[in-house]
Amino acid sequence: MKQWMNLKTLVIIVAILFAVAFPQMGFKMYYVHIGVLSLLHILLALGLNLVAGYAGQLSLAQAAFFGIGAYVSALLMLNLKWSFWLAAPLGALAAGLVAVGIGLPTLRLKGPYFVISTMGFGEIVRLVFLNWESVTRGPNGLPGIPAPDPISLGFVTLTFESRVENYYLILTVLLVVLVLYYNLVHSRIGRALRAIRNDYIATQVMGIHVAFYRILAFGVGAALSGLTGALYAGYIRFISPDTFTIGESINILIMMVIGGMGTISGPIIGAIFITYLLETMRVFAEYRLVIYGLLMFLVILYMPHGIAGMLKKLSLRVRAGKKEA
């Protein structure tokens, strides 16, 4: 047991070191950009994972929350000249609150009913971005979003214009999020969510207010997506409704499923894997989706816990093998 823990810690430390050193390793800027995208995708997949992986409710509205965070923070920065550091948390909060509002009536729905409701909601949000022109400028999108304001630390001023700077900003956010996410998942909240996924009636009888925890997961997952939206807007500096579609929600879903849902490492592995694959497979653009589709089906059939689950099983087998030997 102890050895396993050590191995795990080692992997985590190496991963963090690699993530920190990555932009300095002499890769072309394009790879740093891919790095930034991976980080953003990890955040999105983690958000969905809280709802689908832990609480067991498949949401197709994640791109909508992603969009709400992006639009709210961008509009605050553009129209009210707010600082990014205020606008971003507000964007996250807005996404979270909208999720609570939509979650109150819909979260008691079961399986497909819930999925379709979230899909419908996602479509409504996109149509609002598209048609509420006086605010969102409709299909033209919002250009000219400012970068996060520089932070002066006295001896040095941090700016967030370049890819590398954005990479570190988002990595920092991700690491903080991961610590809090870890706490959340390993606290009674995470246990309650997993219990709900296993058996919600038994969970109720444990004295757990199921609706509250479902809404909590939905809200926190949405807020996380919203925060990602703000970071995305600050990095790309332009947003338009085309980014926040059902297709994007499905992309996030693919990342979570292939990585492995209901774990922390799953969405991370999945997001990196798919982001990288998306880029390297640009050449076979037409075949990419054929492979994804099939992969999704096969993964859910043969390894429902995704890559992360597979790795865990494999390491358990290896250890069991060792023990026998």
Partner: protein, 292 residues
């Protein structure tokens, strides 16, 4: 005003017919097999392409092409049952949705590769003729969508209500164990169900293809509406789906006509979400008490 209203009603009925044909198979497959089939609207898309092949390339008469396309897709539906649904049958609902979603992505993109992404025209002997009556127009093809839909619904109704297979299907839907005790072969019934569902979707594709264009994306455009229909009607509820299809078709048409075309899809989903808040099992759904 009155004329416009009647025209919008006519439009809505045609739209509703399409939704109904696709939704019927989806709701039956859920009711009888317990599968949430996200790839169902791809059967509609593939059906349209088969229709194009038969009618445009092989120059068969349209109605013959329609029947053949239904048969071809019925076989495809059976293959889908064997290859996709059977392995997924005992999986949790979420995994089913994700799995069939994967199949949907696969089929759409495979169609893009095979047929190219460009929309194809599907001219038939009926496409250019239209009727006009008191300022209300309808093309023959549209009229046919509506009529054939009614015929197919009647036929389906007959099959389900009066034939042995139909009764067996209902038995499987209502109580699977008891159905087995009657000596009903569940696997055979699920094959038949998939065949019928796919044939109906293919009928929708072949009927609607000539009105619009045929393209690999046409299924994706329809799936969310079709699911809205199925859920509004209560999943697994066949008459519910028919009613819901026409309700949503009319609502969409009237919203676009009298409120705003910008928000016609918003209205669809608002109706859906409102109904679900009031009746979580859909308008015609049967709520079930969970056994503890």
């Amino acid at each position: 005003m009155f004329q416009e209203f009647v025209q919008q009603i006519v439009n809505g009925l045609v739209l509703g017919s399409t939704y109904a044909l696709i939704a019927l198979g989806l709701t039956m497959i859920y009711g009888i097999l317990g599968i949430v089939n996200w790839a169902h609207s791809e059967l509609y898309m593939l059906g349209a392409f088969v229709g194009v092949f038969l009618v445009v390339h092989l120059k068969l008469p349209f109605l013959l092409g329609l029947v053949l396309a239904m048969l071809v897709m019925a076989l495809f539906g059976m293959a889908m049952d064997l290859l996709v649904f059977r392995p997924l049958r005992s999986a949790p609902e979420m995994n089913m949705i994700i799995g069939t979603l994967g199949i949907s992505i696969f089929l759409v993109q495979a169609a893009v590769i095979v047929f190219s992404p460009n929309p194809v025209r599907f001219p038939t002997e009926f496409s250019d003729a239209y009727l006009s009556f008191m300022g209300i127009s309808i093309t023959l093809q549209r009229l046919m969508v509506f009529c054939v839909t009614l015929v197919l619904i009647a036929l389906l109704n007959y099959i389900i209500k009066y034939t042995t297979v139909g009764k067996a299907m209902r038995a499987c839907e209502q109580n699977r164990d008891a159905a087995k005790l009657m000596g009903i072969d569940i696997n055979r019934i699920s094959l038949i169900t998939c065949a019928i569902g796919a044939a109906l979707a293919a009928a929708a594709g072949t009927l609607v293809g000539p009105i619009f264009l045929v393209s690999p994306q046409m299924g994706l455009a329809a799936i969310s509406k079709v699911f809205a229909v199925v859920i509004l009607g209560g999943m697994g509820n066949v008459p519910g789906a028919i009613w819901a299809a026409f309700i949503l078709g009319l609502a969409e048409s009237l919203t676009a006509g009298f409120i705003s075309s910008y928000y016609k899809d918003v209205v669809t989903f608002c109706i859906l979400i409102t109904v679900l808040i009031i009746k979580p099992a859909g308008l015609f759904g049967r709520s079930q008490i969970e056994k503890v």
